[in-house]
């Protein structure tokens, strides 16, 4: 899915002039607002057009120029707001900020776009305003923007779940060299409370549950080095601890990771 503002020219040929949507993938039109101008970046507002808000993106199509249109996915909209302050902008409008690919770079190129330049690099545009001719529609538009933005959360990739680094105790903070200037979280060290302490196994940073198994395999001292086919190794001497003194036991336990 493309990041940032794009040109959009795909209109239905049936005379309605409506944008062609990705209906195969469930995109639906949610709201249509005619008589809306658009101001891209710092440029002057462009001649009235129609705003189409879908479940995936915001599309503006020019009324006068059938080849002109802009679109941006909700995934790229960092924020949107109702702007009524004339000092901020002369006309009441929906102000939106667009997350661009080069967002880390302080890019001032949008200011250098002059009126005469028709070739506009949309991918660098950071702000866009939608100016309805009827200012009373602003709150409705804002609401629709909110509802559709909520339909577009960040897609969760499988790999991200493993990237969680939950800090359970101050021990982990000390072991991570140069760990974080963000020291907002201070956990008091409570040696009597072993819950949440990872006992030095920092690779097990994801949520784990320690399971104490009163298993017959642990009972008999003679039964050593058995059941190695399961992949767990356990020594029968370390048996029957029920939650205390866990720091002595570095092996012989079952880890269940979630």
């Amino acid at each position: 899915m493309a990041v940032g503002l794009r040109h959009f020219t795909a209109r239905a040929g049936n005379g309605s002039g409506e944008p062609i949507l990705d209906t195969d993938n469930g995109e639906e039109l949610v709201h249509v607002q005619p008589s809306v101008s658009v101001a891209v970046g710092d440029r002057a507002p462009e001649s009235p057009g129609t705003l189409y808000i879908t479940t995936r993106q915001v599309i503006w199509l020019s009324e006068l120029d059938r080849e002109k249109g802009y679109a941006v996915y909700f995934l790229s909209l960092s924020l949107h707001a109702v702007s009524r302050d004339p000092e901020a902008y002369p006309s009441p409008c929906i102000y939106t900020q667009i997350e661009t690919e080069a967002d880390e770079v302080e890019d001032e190129s949008e200011d250098s776009d002059s009126e005469c330049s028709e070739v506009l690099d949309l991918s660098k545009i950071r702000e866009i305003r939608f100016i309805p001719s009827d200012a009373n529609q602003l709150d409705t538009l804002f609401q629709v923007f909110c509802e559709c933005a909520e339909l577009n959360p960040e897609p969760i990739e499988e790999g991200e779940e493993e990237g969680h680094n939950w800090i359970f105790s101050a021990d982990q903070l000390e072991d991570e060299a140069g760990a974080g200037d963000d020291v907002e979280w201070h956990f008091s060290q409570n040696p009597t409370n072993t819950i949440g302490h990872s006992n030095g196994h920092h690779d097990l940073a994801s949520s784990v549950l320690e399971l104490q198994i009163n298993d017959q395999r642990f009972e008999d001292a003679e039964e050593m080095e058995q059941d190695s086919d399961t992949g767990h190794h356990h020594q029968s001497q370390q048996t029957k601890y029920l939650g205390s003194g866990m720091d002595r036991c570095t092996s012989s336990r079952y880890w269940i990771g979630f």
């Binding site: 909209l77 960092s78 924020l79 302050d85 901020a88 102000y95």
Partner: protein, 91 residues
Amino acid sequence: MLFFSYFKDLVGREVTVELKNDLAIRGTLHSVDQYLNIKLENTRVVDQDKYPHMLSVRNCFIRGSVVRYVQLPPEEVDIELLHDATRREAR
């Protein structure tokens, strides 16, 4: 869902949301959702010289994924409560 619940309790308080693009916006927390999308009211930009275009917008919807920090008033933060809640969440 811990921070969703936590922010729900902060609705009505003044917060400052700092975005990943360095913009900092102060306002009254109107609502928050499960993705930590944030709606602010009576917003004003903290560093007005840097972002003049956003002067006093009335309502603002901020996408959760672009938030870097949410700065809270210290008197509103119960460290012990958060401590216990995060411990419970981690189990």
